[in-house]
């Protein structure tokens, strides 16, 4: 074996072990009741302007064409279903993707903020991922911060003429990583460490969740690229309809 191959094999063994240790890996929802009351309210308030912007953008979309209503609802259901399905992980343990990165790339970050909060409500009530009191914090990390970063990176890569598949991978991967960092900081702000304060606490949370979240971000990035390749092959008119492919890119 070459040196590089050895490193690859070692890395895959490490990832496999990490997955074996953690039986279920969800995207990082803060569970119900884990944040103090003040923080629940504060994160909810921070989300409000983004939700209002998303609401207005959805309303305009529906005003221009009423048919968009079912389209938007379908996209929301798609994000939910994608995030509730088991994705292939290395050892067969079960893990789920966020789906919001793909949503942001396909439908834009404004629609994803409102769709995201709806999906999070459904995830809390129907799947017990996340919760009602932590809805504000989870909305900020998963439906606002992550999608905005993902969309920004996707656009930036488009401007810089990076290969589209690479840019999709980067966008989703970094969006997931950002979500995970934001969640860790949210937890750290609520529970600063007695040695070293908030910063030390953030490092601890980042460290504890890294083994599950880093491989998840890589896998979600790869899967999203595979999904988009499938879409580009079979669904060019539909993609143009939702505004993902503009005339030139599709050719």
């Amino acid at each position: 074996m070459k040196k590089q191959e050895k490193i690859l094999v070692k890395a895959s063994v490490v990832i496999a072990l990490l997955f074996a240790v953690a039986p279920t890996v969800n995207a990082m929802h803060i569970m119900e009741g884990y944040l103090p009351a003040g923080y629940c309210v504060a994160w909810g308030l921070i989300c409000l302007p983004f939700l209002a912007a998303g609401f207005i953008s959805l309303k305009n979309k529906i005003k221009t064409n009423r048919k968009n209503l079912t389209l938007i609802a379908m996209s929301g259901a798609f994000i939910f279903v994608i995030s509730s399905l088991k994705i292939p992980s290395v050892t067969g343990s079960c893990s789920h993707m966020t789906g919001t990165g793909l949503g942001a790339i396909l439908f834009g970050p404004a629609s994803v903020s409102v769709l995201g909060i709806i999906v999070l409500v459904f995830q809390a009530v129907l799947l017990a991922h996340g919760g009602l009191t932590t809805l504000g914090a989870n909305t900020f990390s998963m439906a606002v911060a992550g999608p905005i970063i993902a969309f920004g990176i996707y656009r930036l890569c488009g401007k810089l003429n990076v290969n589209r598949r690479v840019s999709i991978f980067l966008a989703v991967f970094l969006g997931d990583i950002f979500t995970y960092c934001v969640t860790s900081v949210q937890l750290a702000l609520a529970y600063p460490s007695e040695v070293g304060g908030t910063a030390a606490s953030a490092v601890k949370f980042l460290g504890v969740f890294a083994p599950t979240q880093l491989p998840l971000a890589v896998i979600e990035g790869i899967l999203t690229v595979v999904i988009v390749i499938g879409l580009e092959t079979y669904a060019v008119p539909e993609l143009r309809n939702i505004g993902f492919l503009r005339g030139k890119e599709a050719e």
Binding site: P23, G33, T70, F78, L106, I118, L127, A128, L132, T133
Partner: protein, 257 residues
């Protein structure tokens, strides 16, 4: 297809007034979060388990399994809360790592345990709502709370579409499995991607036909749904009010101490 949804339709508490259950859940959640004592969490936990399992008739084994869903998050983040890396050993425990210690103090261990109890109690509140109240009824309550009509309508449609899409997805997954689509890791990734893109294409096409169907039935921008009103019983309301006042008293007491 979704376990919680299925159990919810079987619950014996399903036909009780939805607003009543919603208000009970929200008040209990707020008091549970605001409280600083483990006793409040214990009371909330036991009462909710009693209501959902004994009164609602949800099988206890199922319920216990559901309680384990957030366990991974709970264990990981509580470890992060309790364990510190420091040069000085703290009072509860300390494992030496070269010059540093993996260590925690008694107060942080206690706080972590209290937080675990509080979070689990809050989870039982959430489960009370989701295991007794059907989603369409929750949406009815949200409508009464003046959540914008567009959001309610979107939620209603999304709730319906979730089941359509899950059915499609599971059919695709079954046919992929029967054609060795999950043979090894590479095919698994490719199958998942293919399934998801086929799902999106189908759902987009379906949304078009669905809109046509709705328009053919005189859809003019508002979905009208027949909701049955079941008045809340006075006895239940008094019980809830008494219980919440008791919790409020416990919360205030926990703050005073």
């Amino acid at each position: 297809m979704i376990v919680i949804d299925k159990l919810c339709y079987q619950s014996k508490l399903r036909y009780i007034n939805a607003s009543e259950k919603f208000v009970y859940t929200v008040l209990t959640l707020i008091l549970c979060i605001a409280s600083r004592s483990a006793a409040t969490a214990a009371v909330v936990f036991l009462v909710n388990v009693y209501l959902t399992v004994a009164k609602g008739g949800i099988p206890f084994a199922r319920y216990a399994k559901l309680l384990l869903i957030p366990a991974a998050f709970l264990v990981a983040s509580t470890t992060a809360l309790m364990v510190n890396l420091s040069r000085m050993p703290l009072d509860a425990f300390a494992f030496p790592l070269g010059e540093w210690y993996l260590t925690g103090s008694i107060s942080s261990v206690l706080a972590g345990l209290r937080l675990c109890g509080k979070a689990l109690a809050a989870v039982t509140c959430l489960y009370f709502l989701s295991l007794t109240t059907v989603m369409t009824e929750i949406l009815g309550v949200l409508k009464k709370l003046h959540v914008p009509g567009l959001v309610i309508e979107l939620m209603m449609l999304i709730y319906r579409f979730i089941f359509l899409l899950m059915e499609t997805a599971s059919a695709i997954i079954i046919s992929q499995n029967s054609r060795l689509g999950n043979r090894d890791y590479q095919t698994r990734v490719r199958s998942f991607g293919g399934m998801a893109s086929a799902l999106l294409v189908r759902s987009l096409k379906r949304s078009g036909t669905l809109y046509d169907a709705m328009e053919a039935r005189c859809y003019d921008g508002e979905l009208k749904i027949l909701s049955e009103e079941r008045p809340a019983e006075k006895k239940e309301l008094f019980c809830i009010a008494g219980y919440e006042l008791l919790l409020l008293g416990m919360v205030i007491w926990s703050w005073m101490r």
